[in-house]
């Protein structure tokens, strides 16, 4: 059977490409780490890849707002045929492909209009702005998945422990209509919660002050997923700050909860191969 293939972008300050590629490999897929300019120059094409990935990092140092400068490239730069990278992604999605953005990747997807894309025209409908704390923070939090999951990444996921590591993760929504669409269509894929799964409304369980306590968005097709927490940073139990006790409780299972998302999407793609 044909392998599931993930394209993982890097360059320009992206810095979580290795752990993201490792996530796909551990989940049984193939992953290629590709410099953004190789994609832009057309030396690497999206065709043939099942999932396009925007990893975490600080593309262009968060200048102009996190993810903005790279999002500008995707809107403004033209490939040899005059198309933009956004056009390429539209084709990839139309052809059944998936797109994942984590942290800075999520910020890029929001600023290119790929998420939530309620209007279907890639206009920016929400933003991710500076946390209420005003600070970059690295802390572990809990997230609860929307059920049923619109994104195959989150199939059967309930409550997850994951680290957040960002300064600009506060989701704000353009207007009431978009807000209503996000709620009604279940696009808020993950919400910050406490350890028991109750939705978090206060810092630090809600680490950034996001509207709807939203930690992740999907588009209406469920093919695009963006999230602030880092599932690729919880591939092994040894990532968790309390790994010593968790390992005992898990009876020696050393897998991290974040790996589940990647196993899910790889299984989904395999099962749905024509």
């Amino acid at each position: 059977m044909k392998a599931v293939r993930a394209l993982v972008l890097t360059g320009f300050g992206i810095n979580c490409q290795d752990e993201l590629a490792a996530a796909y490999r551990l989940a049984g897929a193939e992953a290629d780490v590709v410099h953004f300019n190789e994609w832009l120059a057309g030396t690497v094409a999206l065709r043939g890849y099942d999932v396009l990935n925007f990893p975490g990092g600080f593309s262009f140092g968060d200048d102009l707002g996190a993810g903005k400068a790279l999002a500008n490239k995707m809107r403004f730069c033209r490939l040899a045929g005059g198309r933009t990278l956004l056009d390429e992604i539209a084709d990839h999605l139309a052809g059944g492909g998936f797109v994942l953005g984590i942290c800075n990747g999520f910020q890029i997807l929001v600023k290119t209009g790929l998420l939530p894309n309620v209007g279907g025209n890639f206009a920016q409908e929400v933003s991710l702005i500076v946390n209420d704390s005003g600070q970059f923070e690295d802390r572990w939090c809990h997230c609860r998945a929307e059920r049923p999951a619109r994104s195959p990444f989150l199939k059967d996921v309930d409550v997850l422990a994951l680290p957040v590591r960002h300064k600009e993760g506060k989701l704000v929504v353009r207007d009431a209509a978009i807000r209503a669409a996000i709620r009604e269509r279940g696009l808020c894929a993950l919400r910050y919660c406490d350890a028991a799964g109750a939705i978090a409304t206060d810092y630090p369980a809600l680490p950034n002050g996001a509207e709807m306590s939203c930690a992740a968005l999907t588009d209406p097709t469920g093919r695009v997923l963006g999230l602030m927490p880092h599932p690729e940073a919880f591939l092994s139990i040894y990532n968790h700050p309390d790994w010593a006790r968790r390992r005992e409780a898990a009876g020696g299972n050393e897998e991290g909860e974040g790996l589940r998302l990647f196993r899910n999407v790889v299984d989904h793609i395999r099962r749905n191969r024509p």
Binding site: D18, E19, N37, D132, A244
Partner: protein
């Protein structure tokens, strides 16, 4: 003339603006100023030929956030009316403006043209609007103290009606000239010349330069090359840079006449470096070799030390300091410190190491200091805040996790802070069969300058850091780092090196090209540099400035002519500038020209070996410092809370959270762990790859205040601290007889001392200070030999004094040991926090009555008395037994005992666990030793608060007690157990000393260190 437009963006009024909230907080706390209405506007000044549609698109789509912001083009956005005053903060011409460059990228992407960083077309500034009519003095304080720094920023402020758009200054242009500087002058004029040109050369050194240029052979060769008989400005600068203390370590290599008043002995020490640091490491190297062990690969001779992980991987590790720049501009100093230190592993051997982790150890004045500031001195709070932010941006934006560090406070760091930045990386064993750790250059190879462009920034950094600071310190030495430029450079370098195109890489740091080319040229036998090829940020640099510039984010690469085209193509893909600027030769000369005109021609032998040897005086007398009087009937619960809330013990969480300690997804022991993620840990542990479980533990040891009693003890305690923290997490020291099986250990020593050169007028206690340094080096050698831990790299910083208004603030002599060790299986490491009720709790190691310099003594005034002593003959056997217990998996939690002593360590192990501890210290108190037989109350205080080194507290599952006790022998003293009840109870023979809820202790400990 190209039109200038201004695009202004501000957050929608209904959204919170965190920057405004922060300014409001700081203005109230620091200036006692309650601000009314406040608004922040980002201003982009764009000097480019744009039509109206392009300008509109740049503003709305490119620079502003359409959902969250309002934008104005050549006007302020809506909602900016009704303000009374303003402050506009821009960058001084030539200062790094990363955001401007990113905006320029967006502009070029929009226009569909390839990105060009120069000339600068977009300039950013921050506009702050205040509803209150603030007077000019208040606005100036806000501008200069809270919103910017006059060394890097320019300001405009006043009534809002006077606001005008910023107009970027055109860079001055100047025709390149090469000046001749006459050295045929009187001796005191030579001194004046050295001072005036910031050469930092003393008279003997100036005379040596003078003599060299008088040599008839040199003169003949210079005539032939078209150079004047006397040195050019560039030549003098090159010699000064190469001979600077920063680059040549003249004091560590000096002949020292050492008088020990305690023993009456006198001796001559022929170089501290050779006698103590190199000799001990070489001896350890011989022991390892004799045991058939080959992990010590490269020491002292490259940008970072190299040890072997396994057949395919090498570990490179370097720690540097960036003290002087951090004193002037804390943010810029720290960010360039961390980025500069990152370039050392990147520039080791052939280059291209993958960075693995950072460590940061910071020493500041007290953040709440009320001591009036001297002219040019920044408040310790500002230094702390700026340095913290610099490390955050430098580390986080480079994608390198900060996994270990420390912060120490002492009023003597209020003049010059110490900013230690460490970086570990992994280098492949070889590139296409060629050893990756070796630098290889042949005549004919090309010199490639890669990365950022060259400007006037940082000129004289190397010579300036070799001086004390005063209010005339050069502002050109201050610069702001660009993490994105460096990240793009390191991404490119990694690929280029793995493809085998790079023969050698090195950092352009202090001294710039002069230093990097100067160090590489001898490997080939000479070098020729064509300065007109160097890409500049702006025109107008003189040739000597181009050669000496310390512009950041640049590296010098050596490539063959055959590989150069492929390298250039890769650089273009990665959008990194990589320019051929010269070649290597076999002439024995460093030859520099600008557009065909000779600029410098220096004999490499003279340049590297011509510096006269220094002769220094050291004299040791043991200081007398009495102990504090300790009140009777102390409430130990209260004392413990005060200890936990002291600056040197309290939680570092607020700082740690703002550093990414887990990017790369492989950090196993982070600075804070446990169920609540707040329990402080000993060593950091990181896994090397996702394919196996090998890892590295890293820890830092620092004990400057013990040095007030005995510099030897200070250095020994610091060394022991770093080693025991790694033993605490499960690290395995090399054992005699088992050396062949052992895995690597390596240390970096970083000495930061005050001016230790005796001068009757300006430095009357210089001999004592130098004696302290001698004793610190002796401890290094003794402990390294005892523990079999070699130094693989290090650095010294010798002039950590701040002088102003006739006063001097000198740092206490401080040595940091940063130690890294291989961990064969990270899954077997142990964290500090307790895990479950019912575990047996033990103290490992012996407690002594040696209260000197302890945090406990400090609560009661002068922290004198006997200094804590490392006793390797006791410590090492204990470490070996502890290591065996770790190997057997018997230790469930382990925390080393350090600042604050046992009571503090017990409390820290409970934080965030929901559990408690119940211990009785009687068996510890009974066995307290040292200085005669202390009485019972003294023994109790020692048990609770002594900072005797080489001790751990461990928790052991009940079923493992027997095996554990058998392995530890007499080294373990059982003191109690963990409890389900979250209280800390400490008794002495049944008498309750402490009985406090852990939550209460935690509250005291988690105080806000930095407002």
């Amino acid at each position: 003339m190209i039109a200038l437009h201004h695009i202004a963006c501000t957050w929608n009024p209904e959204l919170p603006d965190a920057r405004c909230a922060s300014l409001r907080r700081r203005a109230e706390r620091h200036l006692g100023l309650r601000l009314g209405g406040l608004k922040h506007v980002s201003v982009y000044a764009v000097r480019a030929a744009l039509d109206a549609a392009q300008l509109e698109r740049l503003a709305r789509e490119g620079l502003s956030d359409v959902v969250a912001q309002r934008v104005g083009i050549d006007r302020l956005p809506d909602g900016c009316a009704g303000f009374a005053s303003f402050v506009l903060v821009g960058k001084l011409p030539g200062t790094t403006d990363d955001e401007g460059l990113s905006a320029q990228r967006t502009l070029h992407d929009l226009l569909g043209v390839p990105f060009a960083p120069a000339p600068q077309e977009v300039f950013t500034s921050d506009l702050w609007l205040f509803a209150d009519a603030l007077d000019a003095a208040t606005l100036r304080r806000l501008a200069e103290e809270e919103l910017g720094n006059p060394l890097v920023n320019q300001f405009a402020f006043g009534p809002f009606a006077d606001f005008a758009w910023p107009v970027p200054e055109a860079e001055p242009t100047a025709a390149p000239t090469v000046e001749t500087v006459s050295l045929e002058i009187a001796d005191d004029a030579l001194d004046a010349l050295s001072k005036q040109r910031l050469l930092s050369l003393d008279r003997a050194e100036m005379k040596a330069v003078q003599a060299h240029f008088r040599d008839s052979q040199i003169q003949a060769r210079r005539r032939a090359a078209g150079l004047p008989a006397e040195p050019t400005d560039a030549e003098l600068e090159i010699v000064a840079q190469t001979w600077s203390e920063h680059c040549k370590h003249k004091e560590f290599n000096a002949l020292i006449h050492f008088v020990d008043r305690e023993t009456g002995r006198e001796e001559t020490i022929d170089s501290l470096f050779k006698t103590y640091i190199r000799a001990s490491t070489e001896e350890i190297g011989r022991r390892l070799e004799a045991a058939g062990n080959n992990w010590l690969v490269k020491v002292f001779s490259d940008n970072a030390g190299v040890v072997r992980v396994d057949r395919d991987r090498l570990f490179v590790f370097k720690v540097e300091t960036h003290n002087s720049p951090s004193a002037l501009d804390p943010f810029g100093g720290a960010i360039t410190g961390i980025l500069g230190n990152n370039r050392d592993p990147l520039g080791t051997g052939r280059g291209g190491a993958t960075l693995l982790f950072n460590t940061d150890v910071l020493c500041f004045g007290p953040p709440d200091s009320a001591v009036p500031l001297l002219p040019g001195q920044l408040h310790p709070r500002r230094v702390f805040a700026g340095v913290r932010q610099g490390i955050e941006e430098g580390g986080n934006k480079s994608g390198v996790p900060t996994i270990n560090g420390a912060i120490a406070f002492d009023p003597r760091y209020a003049g010059k802070p110490l900013v230690y930045c460490g970086t570990g990386g992994i280098l492949p064993d070889n590139y296409g069969g060629r050893p990756a750790w070796e630098k290889e250059i042949a005549p004919g190879d090309l010199v490639v300058l890669a990365g950022g462009r060259t400007g006037k920034d940082g000129i004289h950094g190397a010579t300036f850091s070799s001086l004390g600071l005063d209010k005339h310190s050069p502002r050109s030495a201050v610069q702001i780092g660009s993490p994105i430029t460096q990240k793009m450079l390191s991404d490119f370098l990694e690929v280029a090196c793995r493809r085998g195109w790079v023969k050698c890489a090195t950092d352009d740091g202090a001294g710039g090209l002069s230093s990097s080319i100067g160090e590489l040229a001898p490997l080939a036998g000479g070098s020729e540099i064509w300065l007109e090829k160097v890409p500049l940020k702006y025109p107008g640099l003189q040739p000597w400035e181009i050669f000496l510039s310390e512009s950041q984010e640049r590296m010098t690469l050596v490539v063959t002519a055959e590989a150069a085209p492929a390298l250039a193509e890769l650089a273009q893909l990665y959008e990194v500038e990589a320019t051929v600027i010269g070649k290597f030769t076999a002439t024995g000369l460093l030859e520099v020209s600008h557009a065909g005109r000779p600029v410098a021609q220096l004999d490499l032998g003279f340049l590297h070996d011509g510096v006269p040897r220094k002769h220094l005086e050291a004299e040791w007398t043991r200081p007398v410092a009495p102990e504090s009087a300790i009140p009777e009937n102390l409430d130990h619960g209260d004392v413990l809370k005060r200890l936990l809330a002291s600056d040197n013990v309290c939680s570092r969480e607020a700082v740690i959270r703002q550093y990414d300690h887990e990017v790369k997804g492989r950090t196993v022991i982070k600075p804070l762990m446990g169920p609540a993620g707040i329990a402080p840990q000993d060593a950091g542990v990181i896994r090397l790859s996702f394919d196996d479980w090998r890892g590295i533990a890293v820890a830092c040891g620092l004990a400057p205040r013990i040095g007030d009693l005995d510099a030897y003890a200070s250095s020994a305690c610091a060394f022991d601290e770093a080693v025991r923290q790694i033993v605490s997490v499960g690290g395995q020291l090399p054992e005699p007889g088992k050396l062949g099986e052992s895995t690597f250990w390596c240390a970096n020593d970083n000495f930061c001392v005050p001016d230790s050169v005796y001068d009757a007028a300006t430095n009357p206690d210089g001999k004592y200070k130098l004696a302290q340094l001698v004793r610190m080096c002796r401890a290094l050698a003794d402990l390294a030999r005892a523990y079999h831990v070699p130094m693989t790299s290090g650095k010294d910083s010798m002039k950590n004094d701040f002088r102003a208004a006739g006063q001097k603030i000198s740092v206490p002599p401080t040595v940091l040991y940063s130690v890294a060790a291989a961990i064969p299986d990270v899954r077997k490491t142990v964290t500090s926090e307790i895990k479950e009720a019912g575990d047996a709790v033990y103290l490992l190691g012996r407690t002594y009555d040696e209260p000197g310099a302890s945090e406990f003594q400090r609560l009661f005034g002068a922290p004198g008395g006997r200094a804590p002593t490392v006793r390797p003959e006791e410590a090492l056997p204990l470490y070996y037994r502890t290591m065996a217990a770790h190997r057997a998996g018997l230790i469930r939690s382990s925390h080393d005992v350090s600042d604050g002593g046992l009571a503090v360590a017990l409390a820290e192990m409970a934080f965030g666990t929901g559990l408690g501890l119940d211990v009785d210290l009687a068996p510890v108190a009974e066995s307290v030793a040292g200085g005669g037989i202390p009485d019972a109350p003294r023994r109790r205080l020692a048990a609770l608060y002594s900072e005797s080194p080489s001790r751990f507290i461990v928790a052991v599952k009940p079923e493992n007690r027997a095996r554990f006790e058998e392995l530890l022998g007499g080294g373990a003293t059982r003191i109690g157990a963990t409890t389900a009840k979250p209280r800390l109870r400490v008794a002495d023979a049944g008498r309750r000393l402490v009985d406090v809820p852990v939550a209460e202790l935690e509250r005291a400990w988690r105080k806000e260190l930095l407002a």
